[in-house]
Symmetry: C2
Subunit: 268 residues, 2 copies
């Protein structure tokens, strides 16, 4: 099933749209199958919170209607699908400025069959991005459309022949991977970096922090990577992916990773 | 004259375009009149450098052809126009990743009559943005499409009833305004902040630094704003705009500002 809708109909984006000009919008990617979109409520809540922070026009009623539309899509799914939702700020004014009372929000909806990448089954070979993450506490945590840092980090992974690269703030603090959050096991404790200065507050990351209070939020620097005993990546599409090598060093897959995965799967 | 072209023809952007999804591209805004686009070579050079840094497919030949196209546009202009050029990375792959050898670059060209905002003639009332600038040394200086920080700062100016707001890094170092670079006069010296960690290396800023070696590049913190004796904004459309008030305090317009303006105008 392939679907591509702009405000409910097929179409294209006007050349003058400010979502294209400035990345002025938000998105979500959801895994979906005939049982429905996974973690739908969490995705809708993140979208709602992001819209509030960006002061976009997006009501609870619109959020609920979107949720029903996504659930209806899933009824006919015979294989897992990826659903992508984008909220785009629309305003006729030229330039960065816009009248907040005259804005509207366009909804872009895309859906296509999803296959987990091959490396996700084997575990990820992970290194360091040669490029930086964008640091901005006003924007941190949101899944907004300003994603050049992830795009460039992904190219860094490609150049290094790796599955994933860790993005750092100021060449030191690790924040996340180019397409996933990251969890580390060290000194008998699981932690994941804070995303209040940079990075995306992944829905899967939030699920993990909510359901497993033994996972802490703590900083980790590049210098401390050689102390990591086990690690995994998380995102909404791939779920949890063990890290099988970190900076060229083989890592064991801690038994907790399977436990986290199984218990989360029961929530859906 | 209103023009809106996508790869040379009228049209719209496919919903799946990665420039929309991630802000994966660059732009320039040029002031133009019947004498041609102002500072054309400098704009083309910045675009070229940005494309190189983002590893986009953009040859010198394409750059030259674009320049000729922009010059041809200007012949029929009876009033000043704004020309906006966007380079958009196009690649069929889904997700952040793309094969660099399979990418192409789409060119979006927009042109419309330009009127300087009224406040630019009177001088700008300038304060501080309540929102942060995005810090990323990999991206700093480029005029890329990830501009949510400027969009939010512009709203901060609107809420405060100001013409412009200064964006800071870590709530301390001033980098630029929401739509202009900024120059400060203090202790007998003109300076502008570096843009190697955040901000845009404006074409007008580069012209000023090139032609007036007495202007230095130096950091300025929010705490030091009360020492500023005079200041001005610069961007390609408005040219130089004196700051008539800074944080509510009236500023004198230093005689140098008119000198800079007149001498730069002679270069075009």
């Amino acid at each position: 099933m392939h679907i591509s809708l702009f405000n409910g109909v097929s179409g294209a984006i006007p050349l003058s749209h400010r979502a294209l000009a400035y990345g002025d919008g938000l998105f979500e990617t959801l895994l979906a199958d005939s049982s429905g979109p996974h973690c739908l409520a969490a995705h809708l809540e993140r979208l709602h919170n992001g819209a509030r922070r960006l002061r976009m026009a997006w009501s609870v009623a619109e959020s609920l209607a979107l949720g029903e539309q996504l659930e209806a899509l899933c009824a006919a799914m015979d294989v897992p699908h990826l659903i992508k939702v984008m909220l785009l700020r629309n305003n006729p004014a030229r330039g960065y400025d816009f009248d907040p009372l005259l804005q509207q929000t366009d909804v872009l909806l895309q859906c296509s069959p999803y296959q987990r990448p091959e490396w996700a089954a084997q575990g990820a070979r992970v290194g360091l991005a040669e490029t930086q993450i964008s640091v901005n506490s006003t924007l941190a945590g949101m899944k907004h459309l300003n994603r050049l840092d992830s795009v460039l980090a992904r190219q860094s992974a490609r150049r290094q022949g790796l599955d994933e690269v860790l993005m750092t703030m100021g060449n030191s603090s690790i924040i996340e991977g180019s397409l996933a959050n990251v969890f580390f096991y060290r000194h008998g404790q699981w932690t994941t970096p804070a995303v209040d200065q940079a990075g995306v507050a992944g829905v899967m990351r939030e699920q993990l922090l909510t359901h497993f209070p033994q996972i802490g939020v703590a900083a980790l620097t590049v210098d401390q990577l050689d102390q990591i005993e086990s690690a995994f990546l998380s995102n909404s599409l791939m779920g949890l992916v063990p890290v099988r090598s970190l900076m060229g060093r083989a890592l064991a897959t801690h038994v907790d990773i399977q436990t986290f995965h199984s218990e989360l799967a029961n929530q859906w």
